[in-house]
Structure formats: structure tokens, C-alpha cells
Symmetry: C3
Subunit: 332 residues, 3 copies
Amino acid sequence: LAKYPWVSLVGPLKVIESVLRGIAQVMFVNNPLSGLIMLLGLLIGNLSAGVGAVAASLVAILVAKVLNFPDEVISAGLTNFSPVLVGTVIPALYPVFFHAPLSVPVWLYLLATSAFSVVVFAGLGNLLGLHKIPAYTLPFNVATSITFLCMRAAGYALPAPEAATASNDTSLLQGDEEEVEWDRVLMGTLLSVGQVWAVESVPCSVLILVGAFLCSPILTLACFLGGAIGTFTSLVVSSAPYSAVYSGVWGYNGFLAGGAIAFFMIPTGRNLFLASVNAVFATFIMAALLPVFVANQLPVFTFPFCLGSVLMLAATIAAAPENLVASPSTPE
Amino acid sequence: LAKYPWVSLVGPLKVIESVLRGIAQVMFVNNPLSGLIMLLGLLIGNLSAGVGAVAASLVAILVAKVLNFPDEVISAGLTNFSPVLVGTVIPALYPVFFHAPLSVPVWLYLLATSAFSVVVFAGLGNLLGLHKIPAYTLPFNVATSITFLCMRAAGYALPAPEAATASNDTSLLQGDEEEVEWDRVLMGTLLSVGQVWAVESVPCSVLILVGAFLCSPILTLACFLGGAIGTFTSLVVSSAPYSAVYSGVWGYNGFLAGGAIAFFMIPTGRNLFLASVNAVFATFIMAALLPVFVANQLPVFTFPFCLGSVLMLAATIAAAPENLVASPSTPE
Amino acid sequence: LAKYPWVSLVGPLKVIESVLRGIAQVMFVNNPLSGLIMLLGLLIGNLSAGVGAVAASLVAILVAKVLNFPDEVISAGLTNFSPVLVGTVIPALYPVFFHAPLSVPVWLYLLATSAFSVVVFAGLGNLLGLHKIPAYTLPFNVATSITFLCMRAAGYALPAPEAATASNDTSLLQGDEEEVEWDRVLMGTLLSVGQVWAVESVPCSVLILVGAFLCSPILTLACFLGGAIGTFTSLVVSSAPYSAVYSGVWGYNGFLAGGAIAFFMIPTGRNLFLASVNAVFATFIMAALLPVFVANQLPVFTFPFCLGSVLMLAATIAAAPENLVASPSTPE
């Protein structure tokens, strides 16, 4: 299906296919049908995030054309997956971090961020390409971090409402005695799927898993396993209260970390083990980066996944280059 | 003129030419006459900065000789342009950030910083050279950041005078109602030229523009356009009061960002567009880095320009390598 | 001795030799006897650190085997020297930074950190290898920083005891008038040897020097010179009270920086000069990084040495590639 002859189709269809593939590429799936199901999930989970993903993708395709990207890279959605995340994460996290509703300037920032992320994708791709290592979603992370800091500098952030702070304090006080609620940890594992796109919604997570499973069961299992490992590891490297664990925030880096190894390496038992280690690694890095990012009032985005996976892939390439798949599509 | 036969001249003249070319190289101009006019501008705008530029250059030439740099690199001023910035920025910004007058130990730090910046230039040049990407003024940024942090650690900083803090508070209170004064924004665009060397002075800016224009009108226009774009973009990504905008502080990264693309790429309409995008990009990055640097009581120097331009050049090379000029001298 | 035929020995002996070589490799010495003497020093100076070094090395050898590292890299101890530092630094610094005694979870973190540092070693080795530059102890720095931040996030840190804070305040007040006690500066130079492993102990430092001297007198002298330069330079870039100088904390980056150049370059007068410059450079970087790391409640580890030496080695390779030793073993 990945080789479906779509070049012959007319322009708008090509654009739609590129947009859909870009949505699925976030979790390494190169398939428009999977992308369509995932987009449905996003729209159900958070309407703004779904719209943002499409808008950001359209800008990205335009910029990619201006930058003369090869046609097959654009149509495979490779130039769009970072913009897709820009388009979902800004609408989803802006209200949380800036205590303000979405406004027109924020949408303009979103489109500019999408454009910048394509430039960063091209730049980092060139730099890391020499080492045969992908930049993963680093372009999204870099561009969105810059934008969040810009919007804060431009005075977009409203003061945090009193109530939220107060309830936080209370839960912190209760923290030390809190028991881990294992059913909510399991729910957190499921929610971590949608949290990759910063959407916390069970139907969204389920639709994303279904979409991915249609295209590549092994990859989906590796991702899900990574998300579970990340969620459970986070109980060790964070402290109570575990509300962030229950909402899936601690699992999405592990989810991507598991997929990243499964996608670029031949699926053997040893590489599955490495994927698990990578998920633990990403969760450790997340725990480490969190306080540094909080000090700058930034979310950690998917930086932990990117940094861990770049190192892990570089490590495994160095040790055993024959393990790398020649042309990564799906493990099957 | 760039190919002027100067190798046959005697030692001191060679050194003078290298110093002058190094001053002009800050804005990509390889011409001793331009450098002389710019040095005049610097001396008029800020005497200490002008003297510092020359002193730092002399140390840099010495270090470059010890490190066995090729003769043509030294004489083109390529080893000196980071030291030139070290020499102008430390005398210009030290009194502002440390609330203390220049002293002998500060000058010794300046000379050591100049020497280190040459080492960093050689090191980064080697690392980035593999990717065919210049390090721009990163050596200056790295070396001067280290020195500023060192001087603070060594207890050089005096407490900020009360008056300055008070007046800042007042202007912050008035901030929300402040109107943008467009004539002062235009003046800020002009002042941003001198701010590249951290000198805020109209005659200095004019002399620098004249010097650069003599050698390369296209490059000068690209830089000036970048400075204007940066200054106007900053109105979007910063909040009132706009005193920093009016003094040119927000434009110098755009100024360099515009020039960086114009210098390394063939001057077509498309590349002029990319130069403009790069100037916007640099200004976004500046807004993002500012709060992080302020937390460490550091100026952002030209980090925004360097980071943005490295990525942008890497992006454009990846997309269209034929656009890169084979041997960058001047666009003409 | 470096070429001692050990491949024929049985498994456990191979492991022991790899562990011992790994300990000595921290200061570029590839010799099991030196490693044994150094291990003795570590055990005398800080029993937990010595045990930690061995435990971390054993985990590292296992991980290196899983990652399919070539046999000669493992047996030379190259995969172990970062883990050795993980094993000595965590037991030595954990009680200081977390105000809590070592516990079983901390030891488990130690073993996990050791495993991660091997992955980082492989990853960075692959990335920097293209530039023919070693990653030095960066893997140790990255892995241990992450772990310290993780342990803090997981609530391991107890509040600092009042007494310590109070006595600090007192010494800070006396600071401005404090005279430099030169005999204690000299003692700090000696203590800086052990501080490479985060062990502050005269017998430990002496045993380490003896062990290294047996294998390579020139390298040992270059290291010791670097440590002395670092310790004396720190008097310029830090402010009173100088208790950290006296305890050797300011010298260990210079110690390693001196050795790093002596080890990878042909031992000429010019390169000895560069080694000295590198030691000054590392100390400047340390002064610069210290406040940034303190803000995140982290020690600077050996980041200053790594960053300085990567740049300095890249600089010298660029300038004069013939200076690099083809196959670095010992200068003799």
C-alpha cells in the first residue's frame, strides 16, 4: 500500500494524500488511510488540534515546494509530520500554558511556526543526514519552543488563575501518602497514544491505534509497548501526585521511542529489547528535562524522545550497521 | 579589489590589512578600505570599542599564527572577525551589564577572550566544515558568553543602581498603553547597523553602510533590508515599551541574517525572499532566547543570527545545492 | 605493556583486566597494573566510590557485549571509563547534593546510569567519529546529569541542613578580606588528581599518580601540569572564599584537559603549550558553567574539560593534522 501509484492523481488529491500521510508519519506510518482514521480521532478528541494539523500541513507543503524539496519526500508526508505536531500541539497546549483562549494571532503564529519547522527539518536533515540519522520530530520541538517563548515575550500569557494553583498545592500536600492507582496507570498508557499529538482522549487514542494497526501491526505493538514502558517507568522517576502519569503525559515519549527503533531496525528480539531500553531512556531524559523546561515555562514537547532516539540509533548503527533496514517503510 | 596583491607587502602592512579586512568581514565584506571606514565609524561611536577591535585583532593574528592557520585565511581577515566583535562588544556592553567602568583586568579578559575565540573558530570550523557550513560568529558568541559568566563568577559585577531599576519599573507600567513611534522604529533600523558591533551611534552606522556599499551594494542592501525586517518583526514578538527596538537592539540579528544568505547564495529573487525569511527567523529566535539569557544575566549577542542562519543555509543547501556560490566573495 | 597478549586468558580474567584498564583510561592510561593501583587509591579514599567503579564497569561490559562492541574496544577498557566515573561520582557526590545517605535505589540508578552511559558512548562516538574526535567523558556527563535530575524529580533530595547554610554565609561574609593561602592551593593541585573521580583524598591522589607514572611519565606530567594550571587559574575566575580551590575541585578539569592534548598529540614543546592553554580554557569554561549548573542544582562534572578539549582538538587537527598521533597509546 505504501507504493500506491498516486503520482498520476490531480493536484488537490496529491495535497490531501500528503496531508494524510504526514499525520500518520508522526508515528512512522506511511499510509493515507491510517492518516485519515487518525485525523478523525484528532477531530473527535480536540477539534482545534485537528483543524490545526490540516492548516499547518498545507503551509508546510507550500514551503516545501518553495524550498524545492523532491516530490517523493513531500508526497510521503515526510515534510509534514513536524508541522502536523505544530498544528495539534499549539492549539492543545496554548490554553494550558498561557491561561488564555486561542485567538487569531495565535493561529498566525501557528502557521509561521509550521513554515519554520520545515526549514529546520531541511537544515537538521542535511546536518544529521551525513550520519544517516533522522532528525525525528526535532524540527517541531525547536520551532514550537521558539514560538512559545516568543508568544510569552510578546505578552500573550495571562496570569494563572488562583483556583488552579490552590488545588495544585492541596494535591502536592497529599502527595506523599498517595497510593498508585494501577487502573489509572493502565488508562494513562492508552491516553499516551493521543498525547503524542497532545490530545487527551480515549476515542482519539483508539482510532490512532486502529489506523496504525491497519498498516503495520508490529510497529503499533512496538509503539504501544514503548508507551506502557514509559508510563510505568515514570512511576520511578517522578513523585506523587501522579495525575500527569494518569493522563498519559509520561507515556508519549516512550511510545515514540519504541516505534523509532522498531521502524529503523530489523524486527528481531534483540531490537525489540533495544526499543524497550530506548523507551526507558526517553522517560529518564524526560524526568531530567522537565524541571529545566518548567523553569522557562515550556512543555518538554517530544525533546526527550528525539534526544534519546538519536543517540540510541547512532549507538546501534555504530555497533551493528547490518541491523539497520535499508529502506525503512514498515517492519512487515 | 578583493584580489588586491598584498602578499608582497611587508609585515606590519600585512597585519594592518588583515585587521581592517577582519573588521569588514563581520558583515561579510572582504575589503581593507571598507574596514578602514568602518573602524573610523567605531572609533567615533565608541572609542573603547574601536581600540578593543584593533587590540583583539592583533592577539587573534598572533594566535592564528601559533595555530598554523593558512596565510590566506589570516590575511582575508577570516580569523579576526570574531575577535573584532569580542573587542567591540566587551567594552560596549561590560559597563551596561556589570554596572562598573572598564578596568585593566577587563582588558586582559578581552585579550584572552579574543585568543579563545580563534581556537573556537578553528574547532567549530573543522566540525561544521564537513557540512560545508560556516560557523558565522558563533566563536565570538561562545567565547564572550564564557567570559561574561567568568567575570560574574569572579565578582566583577556591581549591584544595579537604584535609579535605573526604578525608571524601568515606571516604563513597564506605562507599557500597555504605549503607542509605537514609527519614526523611532526607522531610526532603530539605522542604529541596528552599528549594534552589530554593539555601538549605538548614527554616524557609526552611516560610516559602516558607506564602507560596505563601496565594496558591495547588493550585500549592503540585503543586510539593511534584513535589519529593517528584524526591527519591524520585533514589534510583533516583543511587548511595550519598545525602547530596545528604537535603539536598534532588535535589528542587528536580522541585519546579519539577511547578509548571511545574500553572501553565500547566488543573488536571485528567490534567495532574496529566503534572506527575508531568515531575518524574520532570527528575530523570532532572539525573542525566544532573550528570557533564557536574561535569567543568566547574559546578552544574547549574535546567537540568534548564528543559529538561524546555520539552519537556513543547511536547509537551502539540502534543497538546492546549485544555489550556493562556489567561492563566496561578494554578490557582484 | 599496552600490547600485552591478554586475549588468550579466560573469561573472568578478561573481565578483570577490562575493568582495571577502564579505571586507568579515565586519565588516558591503557594499563591494567596502573588501573589496579588507582582502584586501591579509590578504595582507600572512598570505599563506596571504589565499589561503585567496579559494579558500574561490570554492567558496562555486559551492555557493551549486548551492543556488539568489538572485542578489542571492550578489553582496552574504552567502553568502561565513562561507567567508572558514573560509579565513583554518584556515590561520592550523591550525599553532598542530596543531603541523604546512599540507599539501594541510588545503587540501582547507578547501574542504570552506567548502562545508559555506554549507549551514549556508542552514539556520540558514531557522531563525533566522523570528525575523528573522541567524545572524552561526555557520555558520563550526559548520563549522570540526567540521573541526578531524575533523582531530584523523584523526590530523593532532602532539604539542606541549616548548619551548612549558616557556615557558608559566614565564610561568604569573610570572603572579601580573605587572603589566598598558597600552601593550600598547592595541596588543592594534588587533591585535584583524585577529584577527577570525585574522591578528595591525598593517599588516593598519590596512588593514582604512581599508577599513571608507571605507565607513562610524560602523560602524568602533562596531566599534573594541567591540574596545577587549572587550580591557579581558578584564583582569577572565582572569588573568595577559596575552599573549593583548596579541595581540588577547580583543578580536575585542567588535569584532564592537559592530558587530553598530551595523549592525542605528538609531545612537542608547542603541543605542551597547547595543553596548558587547554587547561586554562577548561577552567574558564568551568567558571562559566558553574552558575548555570548551580541554578539546576547540578555539579558541573567534567563538562568543562569535554567541551574545551573537543574544540581544542578540533582546532589543532584543522590547523595541523600531522600533529595528531596516528594510534594514540602513550606519548612514549
